[in-house]
Amino acid sequence: MPALDKSAGLTEAIARIGDGARVMIGGFGVPGTPFCLIEELVRRGPKNLTIIKNDANEPGMGVDWLLSAGMVKRLITSHVGLNGNAIRMMNAGEIEVEFVAQGILAERIRIAGAGLKGFVSDIGMGTLLAEGKQRLEIDGETYLFEPAIEADFALVHAARADAGGNLVYEATARNFNPLMAMAAECTIAEAETIVPVGEIGPDAVHTPAPFVDHLVALAELPEVYGVVKR
């Protein structure tokens, strides 16, 4: 049976994202951040977004475009240390920020992708990171409940894809992308190269096609991706 072609135009794909949407964005720093999808989201301009991303990129890059455009109500992240603008907006109360330990953030996204309610952990016990979390008694000891983080959309960046939606990431650009692709109601992927179905070996796929809804082909990469213009 042939694979369904998931190819989509950039505008058409991003137009689905409306006010108040919860949007996961892949990437750890620059690698794996879907800058072109974010740029189109800024052009589109929905408001009151909840953004879930490991970090807030740097000023003038990626997530910061959304922050500066006033589109973000809430940011769920592991750290924003490289973005003074995000710190300023947080301190000024212009955005809500929920800090989550990095591996717990990854796992809360993953557990949503796994269709489960949450997980039980001892990470942060005895520190202020445990404050406000539901406590559970298991085997006579106290643990923390970590709820799944679900989202309406995931925006991910792949190095290579086939037209059916199988994705392959490169090096440390993998990071949160495969987890988010599984966790959102609708996954929109941008890919540097789209190859015909059948060219990516089934053992080499990182994100299987059923997790991908729309696939956007990138033209030449802008410099923000770290591309050095020669």
Partner: protein
């Protein structure tokens, strides 16, 4: 076409372009043969493949490529392999559009019993419970009566359940029935079978709309 093949072909017609589908072990697996070859469908098997191509031709089996029923299969172009945790993430996470499952008993309220017959058969639930509970659409594929002549569609299941109220549609050799909040609706009838025969073979009241009954 045999009444079994008609049932399989009827179920196959609900597999539409773009769907990701899991076909349970046994009868449901055979539905694959009735899906049009050019229909873009992704067949999932819970042992870790999306993109089942079909049964492997005799002598062409890859020793590492089976479906969850243990049969040698092929991988379609665009298929992928993954571990068992990803495989069930796909099922529970809302990425499985349809599953077709077998049944010991299925009830008018959508309850399904297909994994244990206390004292007789208890070999473990395998992947059935998650397929039944979490696929977006759950179809049951079964003969209308069992080999002793008893109905398999009941008002309430008597066997331990696989999942509660999970079934949306039942395909049998005699009829297609939909589970709805106001009861079990007869929506299609096999050619040459009468409404009275279906009622007789069904262990639960059937809601039947006025007007002509579609056949398959």
């Amino acid at each position: 076409m045999s009444s079994k093949d008609r049932m399989l072909a009827r179920a196959a017609r609900d597999i539409t372009p773009g769907m990701t589908v899991n076909l349970g072990i046994g009868l449901p697996t055979q539905v694959m043969n009735f899906v049009a070859a050019d229909c873009p469908v992704c067949l999932h098997s819970e042992n870790g493949i999306a993109g089942v191509g079909g049964l492997a031709a005799p002598g062409q089996a890859n020793r590492n490529l089976i479906d969850a029923g243990g049969g040698y299969i092929t991988c379609a172009p665009g298929g992928s392999f993954f571990d068992s945790a990803v495989s069930f993430a796909l099922v529970r996470g809302g990425r499985l559009d349809l599953t077709l499952l077998g049944a010991f008993e299925v009830a008018a309220n959508g309850d399904l019993a297909n994994w244990i017959i206390p004292g007789k058969f208890a070999a473990g639930v395998g992947g059935a419970i998650e397929l039944a509970q979490k696929a977006k659409q759950v179809g049951v594929l079964t003969t209308h009566i069992d080999k002793h002549g008893n109905p398999k569609i009941l008002e309430r299941c008597t066997l331990p359940l696989t999942a509660v109220g999970c079934v949306h549609r039942i395909y049998t050799d005699m009829a297609v029935c939909d589970v709805r909040s106001d009861g079990l609706h007869l929506v299609e009838i096999a050619e040459g079978v009468s409404l009275a025969e279906v009622r007789e073979a069904t262990g639960a009241p059937l809601v039947v709309a006025d007007g002509p009954m579609p056949t398959f």
